[in-house]
């Protein structure tokens, strides 16, 4: 019997015995940073159950989403020292979210913005990188739908739109004689720009904490590790001339966003 996510005693049978998995589940899958090859020593395990049935155990709480039905029960379970967060989605809720990506107009959205929430992105990323325990065919079909809907491009467009906002803020702050805040805004603009670049390269985790590791792994041609780390750590920031650093960073953001070919 194979232990799940390298956690001894955590097996599909054990999950069933604990009442965490309904008898008629459409799919059960693991996801999150560990599955995406990004975890750390204290990472928890994210388990997703897709079923029309509710869990047999009492939920620890519920998420509210603009879907039908509107609630997603969650159960927090401890297997020894490992925390397992389990979310219970219906097949219909998953389909609604996948359709939201497919319906997103990347035409105008590439410049005007992309209307999809952080919660949506978080769930869909976890769906995209999931490893099935039950219902591998169902999961593979959902992952194909996401791929067909150009999910990485949507993430890139979304991150670049965020970056644009911070670029505008940085320039406004410089004009308003607030260089310290402009530096922070420029740093945020750069972060979102790199996130967009990495999403385009297939690194879909939306969490900023993995940015460095994702960049080291993806090695995009548009940004070397040295250039990235120099800006991320603000190595060249001269406290006497912060506006020069802000301009340099904003130029780099502009250069990167102009190199990514949407819908090539």
């Amino acid at each position: 019997m194979t232990a799940i996510a390298g956690v001894p005693d955590l097996t599909l049978e054990r999950l069933r015995d604990e009442g965490l998995i309904p008898a008629e589940a459409t799919a059960v899958y693991l996801s999150g940073s560990l599955v995406a090859g990004l975890g750390h020593a204290n990472s928890d395990v994210d388990l997703f159950v897709v079923a029309d049935e509710r869990p047999a155990v009492e939920p620890s709480g519920e998420l509210r989403r603009p879907l039908e039905p509107t609630t997603v029960p969650i159960v927090v379970y401890w297997f020894g020292a490992t925390r397992v967060d389990t979310e219970y989605w219906t097949p219909g809720q998953v389909s609604q979210l996948v359709a939201r990506v497919a319906d997103t107009d990347l035409g105008g959205g590439r410049i005007a913005g992309v209307d999809i929430s952080d919660d949506d992105v978080d769930f869909l990323y976890r769906l995209a990188v999931a490893q099935p325990l039950v219902g591998s065919d169902w999961l593979a079909e959902r992952q194909r739908e996401l791929e067909g809907a150009r999910f990485p491009l949507l993430l890139a467009a979304r991150a670049f739109t965020e970056a644009d906002t911070y670029v505008e803020d940085a320039l406004g702050l410089l004009q308003s004689d607030d260089p310290a805040s402009a530096v922070l805004a420029a740093r945020s603009a750069f972060g979102y720009t790199v996130d967009g670049l990495l999403a385009y390269a297939g690194e879909l985790s939306p969490s900023a904490k993995w940015r460095a590791r994702k960049l080291a792994r993806a090695r995009p041609a548009e940004l070397s590790w040295d250039d990235y780390w120099r800006i991320e750590t603000m190595r060249d920031l001269d406290a006497a001339r912060p506006e020069a650093w802000v301009e340099l960073v904003l130029e780099r953001c502009q250069d990167i966003t102009g190199r990514i070919d949407f819908l090539e």
Binding site: R110, E247, T257, G258, D261
Partner: protein, 91 residues
Amino acid sequence: MSSVEAPKRAVGVRVRKIHGELYLASGADAWRLSDVGASIWELADGSRSVEEITAAITDEYSVDAGSALADTREFVDELIDKQLMVWRPRG
């Protein structure tokens, strides 16, 4: 404009590439650049004069040098007017 100054892409201009074509956006306005326009945009990093940009364009697109200089100047002036480029002193 004399060659002691060089055109430079203005920071804050939003840039996207779609189907290989370059789009610039500022405020609510957006412009699609031609292939030659995109090359001029790429070359306008503040280190090259209009004449040097024109020379590079002439090499790349095999166009007449005389008309290319006038066309490049016109294009740069248009982007300067729209505040998509700025003039920078050459170091």
